[in-house]
Each structure stands twice: as structure tokens, then as C-alpha cells.
């Protein structure tokens, strides 16, 4: 199950004036287009297009342009998943707008049931979804894609068997197959492999050799052999990234340090939420490559953390040390970020001979997370994150947080 144009659909759910208007959502900091309604796609507005490049076209065509409103999208995603999840015995939430539902052994076959799920999600949340039904995840994604492309399927395709299936898979471009992607897609095209069906016709050994085991799984799944089971619990992340573009260029080390402090705090929170520690920290900074004629600079460097840690103050201190090493004055920085790597479970972590375990610090971090969960983000924060935060993101056109903030509820006329 896949939500149609999810972010644009969220904006529409609470504003009926958008029902027939093209809608576009911009990335963090209003940089480029990250979501488009069908009407916006039809106008030729491309995914990832920088905002300044399509500004005039959008204005002329009456496109409604929004800053991203992740608070709203997150809440709507939870509603969609709760609604669909209640109707299937098992569900894997794959991303903010996609999930795999198990529909085994339904009386009357899967088609009416899938249509019922689609109708319920639409009614309860206002979000339109497409559903592809098939024996493997890769085939289900293919069926979903085909259902989206062909309006006559009205949002649901139960993949048939035999010749009918082969005909459908011949309509699917090879790079649109889940797990193949643009890079392998290009290489396959050079060999004359244009569709999902062409790819299936390749010899199994050839696929395994040229595309490793991932490619082989894709091939087997297209042939109907499941290789990717439902993952019911999310896996702990192998690395955690927190980065953001600044609202306006940042030039001073001091402001960069504050911004980085905040990103590190966020990453550390995520790290503790999944009960892990990081063994290394990577810091990066970059200028705005879109502005021609300005001096450009980008750099990144990592630093081992021995022993591995989940404590915000230690991560901030180490991150700041890395930042000082890579910072060069005289540039207008656009973005900075942090990546925590070498993630391992906090339980059973190797004890270091040189450092005593920091139990007081652990309790402090637990208290910090509890306070911020209870009273809102940034109720308590490290002074290193700065108080004024002039570098904060730009979000000039964010819609109200209709479902999570009392002051921003939708209004109905009486």
C-alpha cells in the first residue's frame, strides 16, 4: 500500500480549496520540490527542481506552494498506518507513506478486501492510496506502480498469473522495479534490458554475478519466490544522520557550532531511543553550490569515540573539536550536519579498561529525554546549542499543524 502524492495529499486533506489546484511541497528550507500533486506533475514541474527555477511557472499556473510540514505528515502517516493496520493480520510499515500488508487467506479473494482498505483509509484520513497485491514484496510494489499509472484500475491491482502477468510486467520500466534503481537500470538498458519482463528473462547466474545477492533477490521475487519476509519490528539504524540547511548563510564558527550542537542533540536522542551507542562521529559543512561565482568549500571528517557513547555532552564536545579542524573562515556556509556511525547496542557494550562506566551520565540523559518528551522538544538543551539561533530554517509557507497544535486547528464556518 502506497499513499498517492502523500505530502500534497496531507495538505489537501484539511483545505478543500486545494481540491482541484496543483499543489507542490518544498524541501526543508524551501530549497526544491519534494512532492507534487498529479496536476503539478501534469504542468511539468519536476521532482527535485530548485524552487527559484519553477517560481514563475508556479505563480502563472496558480500552483499552491507549501513549505514542508513534517509535524502534519508524521501524524497523518500514523493515522493511515493505524487504519490500514487494523484491517490486516500483519503489517510492515516501510516508510512514512508505504506499508506491506499481509492479505493471506481472505474469503472472497483479495480484490474486494483491498478495495475496502483503500476506501476506509480514504474516508478516515482523506488520503488516497494505491494497493498492489501479489505473492512477493517486489511483485506487490510492481503491481502498485502499475495501479498508479493506469487510472482504469481505480487504485487497486491484484497481479494475475501466467500470460496476463507477463503482459503487465512488460509495461514496467526496468528502473522502476523495486531494488534496481537508476544506476543498475542504466547499465541494464545498455544491454537492451528495458522492462521488468526483460530482466526476468536474464539467466539467474548472470544476475547474481553482475548485481550481487541483492539483484538476485529482486530477480527471484519477480519470479514469485519470496526472499524478503515481512519485517514487523523496525531494525535499529546502522547510522544516524542529522543535518539541515540554514535559513541564511552562516559565516562564523560560533554559529556553526551552535547549529551542530542542536543536530548532535537530536541525533543523540534518536541514538538513546533505540538503546544504542556510537563508536564514531562524522561532521560535515558545505557552502551553497547553487550560487555561481561564490567561493565554494565543503569538508567532512570523522573522529572515533572511545569508549562508544550515547551522552549528548560528550558527543557535542567531540563534534565541536572536529568542526574546529575542518572550519575555514571566509565562506558562506549553507549546511552542516552530523552522522553517528559504528552503532552498537548499549547493553553488553565492551567495557573499557581506561574509562569507568558513566552511570550518573546515563541517568542524566534519561532524565533529559523524559523531560523533553513530556514538555516538548528543547525544553532542556545544552547551552552549546545557542539561544538565539539565527541560523534556523526558513519555512515561510508552512501550512497549519492541523492535528497536533490547538492554536492551528482547521476552522469550519457556521
Amino acid at each position: 500500500m502506497d499513499c498517492n502524492n502523500f505530502y500534497a495529499s496531507c495538505e489537501r486533506a484539511f483545505d478543500p480549496a486545494l481540491a482541484r489546484r496543483p499543489v507542490v511541497v518544498l524541501s526543508n528550507n524551501d530549497g526544491c520540490v519534494i512532492a507534487r500533486s498529479q496536476e503539478a506533475k501534469d504542468l511539468g514541474i519536476r521532482m527535485g527542481e530548485p524552487e527559484f527555477k519553477c517560481r514563475e511557472r508556479c505563480a502563472r499556473a496558480g500552483v499552491a506552494v507549501f513549505s514542508s510540514n513534517y509535524t502534519l505528515y508524521g501524524d497523518m502517516s500514523a493515522r493511515v498506518m493505524a487504519t490500514a493496520g487494523a484491517l490486516a493480520p500483519r503489517m510492515e510499515v516501510y516508510s512514512i507513506d508505504e506499508a506491506f500488508l499481509e492479505l493471506d487467506g481472505l474469503p472472497g479473494g483479495p480484490e474486494p478486501y483491498a478495495r475496502m482498505i483503500r476506501e476506509r483509509v480514504r474516508r478516515d484520513t482523506g488520503i488516497p492510496v494505491s494497493i498492489g497485491v501479489a505473492p512477493t514484496k517486489t511483485l506487490a510494489k510492481a503491481a502498485n506502480r502499475l495501479a498508479k499509472k493506469d487510472p482504469s484500475m481505480r487504485g487497486v491491482l491484484v497481479l494475475p498469473e501466467g500470460e496476463a502477468r507477463r503482459e503487465l510486467l512488460a509495461r514496467l520500466d526496468v528502473e522502476d522495479v523495486w531494488g534496481i534503481g537508476p544506476r543498475h537500470g542504466r547499465r541494464l538498458r545498455e544491454r537492451g534490458v528495458r522492462t521488468a519482463l526483460d530482466f526476468m528473462a536474464l539467466p539467474r547466474e548472470f544476475v547474481r554475478k553482475t548485481m550481487t545477492v541483492g539483484g538476485l533477490h529482486t530477480w527471484l521475487e519477480l519470479h514469485g519466490t519470496p526472499c524478503l519476509p515481512l519485517e514487523l519490528a523496525p531494525k535499529p539504524k546502522q547510522s544516524i544522520v542529522s543535518s539541515r540547511s540554514f535559513g541564511r548563510p552562516v559565516t562564523s564558527l560560533e554559529h556553526l557550532r551552535e547549529a551542530l550542537g542542536q543536530y548532535i542533540s537530536r541525533a543523540a536522542e534518536k541514538l538513546r531511543a533505540q538503546k544504542s551507542r556510537a563508536a564514531s562521529i562524522l561532521v560535515f559543512v558545505q557552502t551553497n553550490t547553487f550560487i555561481e561565482g561564490e567561493p565554494q568549500y565543503s569538508a567532512s571528517q570523522s573522529q572515533a569515540l572511545d569508549p562508544p557513547t550515547d551522552a549528548t555532552p560528550r558527543l557535542i564536545a567531540q563534534g565541536a573539536a572536529v568542526l574546529e579542524r575542518i572550519f575555514r573562515p571566509g565562506f558562506r556556509y549553507k549546511k552542516a550536519g552530523v552522522m553517528l556511525c559504528g552503532i552498537e547496542p548499549a547493553q553488553g557494550a565492551q567495557l573499557s579498561l581506561l574509562h569507568a562506566p558513566d552511570e550518573r551520565g546515563g541517568r542524566l540523559m534519561a532524565a533529559l529525554d523524559r523531560v523533553n518528551a513530556r514538555w516538548g522538544r528543547d525544553t532542556l538543551f545544552s547551552a552549546a546549542c545557542g539561544v538565539e539561533r539565527t541560523w534556523r530554517m526558513r519555512q515561510g509557507r508552512r501550512s497549519p499543524r492541523y492535528t497536533t497544535v490547538w492554536e492551528e486547528l482547521p476552522v469550519a464556518r457556521a
Partner: protein
């Protein structure tokens, strides 16, 4: 989506001495969410602006609890999308016609027809009307 879970009252157990006679009767605190929200994933809060529903006890500034999973039927107070705006009215049958009827003689009903392109957004299940500001003085005020 925030899921509100009321905390059970702590069950007092004394290691020695008399057991509390109330212990067997301890219950969970009453939770308004439970009373007002049947289907959290489909429930939305909406602010009312205007006076057309005064007769139904809905005033400007009130909060509506709207459940989108309820099938709208004549007699329900509904939130509907009309001409690009959300509006609150009572769904009524007038002969063979369905209308969005105001509950205030100063306003006129809106027929549901092709021309108006009305879409029912959700069914209002409760209205929350504030009588006094919370913590606003009085002998029982406590925060």
C-alpha cells in the same frame, strides 16, 4: 498522532499492617478521550467560526470532535466542504433533496447538488463549549 494513556492509580500495598479496605475498589481515572473519541485514527478537532448553528448549541469558538469514520446520515451535524471551505451544518432530507441546514433563521440552507459540489468531510460527534476559563478563580479552582 498522540495516544493518551491514563495512568492507573498506584495500588497501595503495605508490607505490614492493615490492608486498605478500598484496595479492591481502585479503578482507573476517568479519561475524557475515552468518552469523546471512539476511533482515534479517524478523529479530528475542528474550531467553529460563525453563528449559523446556534440552535444546535454550537457557538462561534467552540471545538467540534469530528469522526470521519462515521457514515453521515440525515440528522447528523456534519462538516462539509462547500466552495473550498469547511462548513458546519445539519444534514437534512427535504423531500427528495438532501440539504445542509443551518440552525439559525438568519441563514439559508445549501442544497446538495451537482452545482454546489458539496463533499461531506466528517460527522461531528461532540461539541466542546467553554463556560469559564480553566483555573479562572472561584472556590474550587486548583491547578
Amino acid at each position: 498522532m498522540q495516544e493518551h494513556t491514563p495512568l492507573p492509580l498506584p495500588l497501595a500495598t503495605a508490607p505490614a499492617g492493615f490492608p486498605s479496605p478500598a484496595e479492591d475498589y481502585l479503578d482507573q481515572r476517568l479519561d475524557l478521550n475515552e468518552h469523546l473519541v471512539r476511533n482515534p485514527a479517524a478523529t479530528y478537532f475542528i474550531r467553529v467560526q460563525g453563528d449559523s448553528m446556534r440552535g444546535a448549541g454550537i457557538a462561534s469558538g467552540d471545538l467540534l470532535v469530528v469522526d470521519r469514520s462515521v457514515e453521515p446520515r440525515p440528522g447528523h451535524v456534519v462538516v462539509a466542504a462547500v466552495h473550498g471551505e469547511l462548513t458546519v451544518k445539519r444534514l437534512k432530507r427535504l423531500g427528495r433533496l438532501l440539504v445542509l441546514a443551518p440552525e439559525n433563521p438568519d441563514f439559508t440552507p445549501i442544497p446538495l447538488n451537482e452545482e454546489n459540489a458539496v463533499e461531506i468531510w466528517g460527522v461531528a460527534t461532540h461539541v466542546i463549549h467553554r463556560l469559564a476559563a480553566a483555573g479562572g478563580g472561584g472556590p474550587c479552582s486548583s491547578r
